[in-house]
Amino acid sequence: MHNQIHYDNVTDAWTLILGENLHYGYFACGEETLAEATDALVDAMAALAPIDSKTVLLDVGCGIGGPAFRLHGRTGCAISGISISGRGIELARDTCRRKGLSHRIAFHRRDALDNGFSEGAFDVVWVMESSHLMRDKERLLAESHRVLRPGGRLLLCDLILKREVSLMDVYRLRSDLAVLERSFGEAKMETLDFYEAAARAAGFVEIERRDISREIRPTLDRWKENVERNRAELAAHLDEEDIENFARSCDILKELFSSELLGYGMVAGVRGGP
């Protein structure tokens, strides 16, 4: 199933599992609530760039706007959020209107690979957990580079491969990968080495990278707890098989994190050149 359709279908259900921020959490000590940890991930990535009330930021793959509202609340920056999910954009716009932030934050249904913004329009391009859904990451990075002003910052975090995956790995894991695809859509993960090289090739300099797999991993227990806690409400959005599939996906991801096949990374870079 195409990811756009997938995300339109699951967005409402995911707010019951992942919370208002449709992304992983950063657990510095492991005792935080999921909401605290998802905010902490936004804060950890924001710490990699100077962001203040004069900053104009593009949020690529904005979900339902959770990170945008957090970022704006902490810094006052202006934000354009884009997503291919019409349902995500609809919910983000509703929240934006409710919060009275439409003068500083706007959400658009656009493609990250051809976003339609003018060259150099942004100080920061923010790519939080959306790059794994895009097969052509080189094009994502080139498009991000295009819309950044010289000296602007790319901030990206996502699931990563901790090592190259062989064809035999894929063959062995094919049943688990099918379960994950049903829950999360079509995904293609890459290593931090890949992201660093691709960012450099796109014209980014001063690249920083962090492996934060350990801090991210408790998210999966929280998601699974939320599946159990909200099972009755989830039934209004997903069929029983999809709910079970999501719970199983949490276990599979934990196994893949434990076996050091999957992890989570953060990459930051500065747009070089004129």
């Binding site: 097969r135 064809l167 035999m168 063959y171 094919r174």
Partner: protein, 88 residues
């Protein structure tokens, strides 16, 4: 190939030609799709010919020139594996 193509978008559908790339640089499909093709062939051999063979074994996957590089090399490899299985 037909079975796998049913799941693919038009732009990445596999041509039924020996030189169609399946694996590595230039291939239109990802490794998950290639694995689906391998499993579809294993299933077809079991279902239609009563042959229980595993095409994706460590030996095949670690070959310097992967037998899954093109549709042609895969056909040759499957033919060899089937011939060996029929001897047993």
């Amino acid at each position: 190939v037909d079975e796998v193509n049913e799941e693919l978008e038009n732009k990445v559908k596999l041509d039924k030609a020996r030189d169609t790339l399946l694996y590595g640089r230039g291939a239109k499909i990802d490794s998950m799709t290639l694995v689906s093709l391998i499993v579809a062939v294993e299933d077809a051999l079991r279902r239609e010919h009563g042959l229980s063979v595993t095409l994706a074994n460590e030996k095949a996957m670690s070959m310097e020139r992967s037998p899954f590089k093109t549709l042609g090399s895969m056909i040759d490899y499957v033919t060899d594996v089937v011939r060996e299985a029929q001897k047993e």
